[in-house]
């Protein structure tokens, strides 16, 4: 097919499908923990990290990863203090991140430099970024499989997890760092918009069908891979912006699922 004649599209498919498999793993746990907005919060905070990296002269990607980890741990810390309002912790960190990014960006001399670290695009991925994504994805998958039970307990109910003998603190810590690293790398590579929507929309679709946690995870991955493939094809053949297209495909699917369920429900 013509679309695969181009190396940049091949890359888009490889990286896109890989991320579509990994991000829902994190997404399901995030959604169950009532932290759906964490993707947005972290990607905004990573801007502050990029700016900081450029100012003091370290690698901006490293700066972004560091800022994301700190922000994610910050969210965890605030969430533990306000357990019943976990979305508040995200709002707080997000405002802090945007504020910091705004102030710091004033000290960055070359705006082009800044922009190139802020906005990734799935159709313009460099070698380094592709290897980073592959590395991060494999790490996330491995840890997700190893900690499958622990994460499941924690996602459903932290207190009973603790009673059941799950080392909640350590697992939460690992998961938080994992989320932060994934978001900062993926946002830089394919764009913040795709990352934050890929965490939540496939999970939302999947929850309409799944009967248990395992199904939720599996369906979410399937949905996300399907969205990614349809989105990339549509963007290529219809000449659309890929980031927005991929997100909208997911939203349209979700909408149809809601409508379909309603119609069936009425009939049955």
């Amino acid at each position: 097919m013509e679309i695969f004649n181009y190396a940049f599209m091949q890359r888009a498919f490889v990286v896109g499908i890989l991320l579509a498999m990994v991000i829902p793993c994190i997404g399901v746990v995030i959604v169950l923990k009532r932290l759906s907005m964490i993707g947005d919060a972290l990607s905004h905070t990573s801007l502050a990290g990029v700016a900081f990296g450029l100012i003091i002269g370290i690698n901006p990607v490293a700066g972004a990863v560091a800022a994301c980890i700190m922000a994610a741990l910050g969210i965890e810390a605030i969430r533990r203090r306000l357990p019943r309002y976990s979305e508040m912790s995200i709002a707080i960190i997000m405002s802090a991140g945007i504020g910091l990014a705004g102030v710091l960006s004033g000290f960055v001399k070359n705006s082009a430099n800044f922009n190139s670290f802020l906005f990734g695009s799935i159709v313009a991925i460099s070698d380094m970024e592709m290897f980073l994504v592959i590395g991060v994805s494999l790490t996330v998958l491995l840890l997700f499989v190893l900690l499958y039970k622990e994460l499941f307990y924690i996602a459903l109910d932290e207190r009973s997890a603790r009673l059941a003998g799950v080392p909640v603190k350590i697992v939460n810590f690992i998961f938080t760092v994992l989320t932060a690293v994934t978001v900062s790398i993926a946002a830089r590579t394919v764009g913040a918009l795709i990352v934050s929507s890929m965490m939540v929309i496939p999970t939302a679709c999947s929850m309409q069908f799944s009967k248990n946690y395992r199904q939720t995870v599996l369906y979410a991955i399937v949905f996300d891979v399907v969205f990614m493939i349809i989105g990339l094809f549509a963007a290529y053949y219809l000449g659309l912006k890929p980031g927005g297209t991929i997100v909208l495909v997911g939203v349209v699917f979700l909408l149809f699922i809601f409508i379909g369920k309603k119609l069936l429900g009425v009939k049955g």
């Binding site: 940049f8 001399k109 190139s116 290529y236």
Partner: protein
């Protein structure tokens, strides 16, 4: 977020105007020099060259910033209130000009649209230049990239200075004459260098080089339309890649002020190399420190163009 930021900035600027506008008398210009506000780098450079030590020129868009997305802040508006001359290039690149000028209370301000009198090109890639095209209007605003047009812009600036400060007319005229001949030289050099070259197609980051291409018989293929810095769509990228392969284009040009990622992706796919072709929309701090100006950058552009088209 960008839109929101813009809205907030405009609101801030507007309220600052309201607060400062009433009752404030225009400050007397104690240095005896003409205070000039220039909308972005080429305007600044031309104004400095004409005005020499008789004027204070302020470049409104800071070094290292892309002018397409720029909006004036409060201090720029107060600067305009105190200025004697305001120079902007026009044809739509400074989309904020109309609104800001309407809101000014400065009756002594001489306003010059430097591109007036230049026959404008229609923006050919209007349909391609998605999201932000409305800000650009229907014309390609990048007039200064052809030396002939740049000379005309400088002449307009000279006329504005003469109008605002008739006492120094001879001085401005003399400066203009010096640089007018430099523009002619540059124009000739471009013609002599580019005309005999076998290839005529350049691939650029955004279609800023319409006037330049028109003047010297080149065609440009822009990765983006008239405005830089939006996400590229894959269909357009595939089109550019095919074009590069078919026409055996050796160099993909990108810009200092725009992320090179897409240019690099295309270069890698086609085996072309990347090189900076500066659309002179702004210089970085470093370039200013090195003493670069319109002429030195245009010379550099000619060198890379020659290499790419040989």
């Amino acid at each position: 977020m960008n839109r929101v930021t813009k809205a907030i900035l405009l609101a801030a600027a507007a309220s600052a105007l309201l607060l400062s506008g009433c009752g404030q008398k225009k400050e007397v210009n104690d240095s005896g020099k003409l205070n000039v506000m220039a909308s972005f780098y080429p305007m600044y450079d031309f104004a400095v060259k004409i005005g020499g030590d008789k004027v204070n020129v302020t470049n409104m868009v800071p070094a290292g910033t892309e002018p397409h997305d720029w909006e004036p802040a409060t201090k720029d508006i107060t600067g305009l209130e105190k200025a004697d001359v305001f120079v902007y290039s026009g044809a739509g690149i400074e989309h904020w000009v109309e609104d800001v000028l309407k809101s000014l209370k400065n009756n002594n301000l001489t306003v010059t649209e430097a591109s007036s009198g230049i026959s404008l090109l229609k923006g050919e890639e209007q349909e391609e230049a998605q999201s932000e095209e409305h800000e650009h209007g229907e014309f390609d605003p990048h007039v200064w990239l052809s030396p002939v047009n740049a000379k005309k812009e400088m002449e307009n600036i000279k006329d504005a200075f003469v109008k605002a400060d008739p006492a120094n007319e001879a001085y401005y005229q003399a400066n203009y004459d010096t640089y007018a001949s430099k523009f002619d030289e540059l124009d000739k050099k471009y013609k002599d260098t580019l005309t005999p070259l076998p290839n005529k197609s350049v691939v650029v980051a955004h279609e800023a080089f319409g006037y330049l291409c028109n003047a010297y018989g080149l065609t440009q293929m822009g990765i983006e339309g008239l405005t830089p810095d939006s996400e590229p769509d894959p269909a357009r990228m595939a089109e550019v890649i095919d074009f590069v392969k078919e026409n055996k284009v050796k160099t993909i040009f990108f810009e200092d002020l725009v992320s090179p990622k897409v240019a690099e992706t295309i270069a890698k796919e086609t085996g072309a190399k990347t090189e900076v072709l500066n659309p002179l929309e702004g210089l970085t701090d470093e370039q200013l420190k090195n003493g670069d100006d319109y002429f030195s950058v245009m010379e550099k552009n000619l060198t890379v163009l020659k290499e790419a088209l040989e």
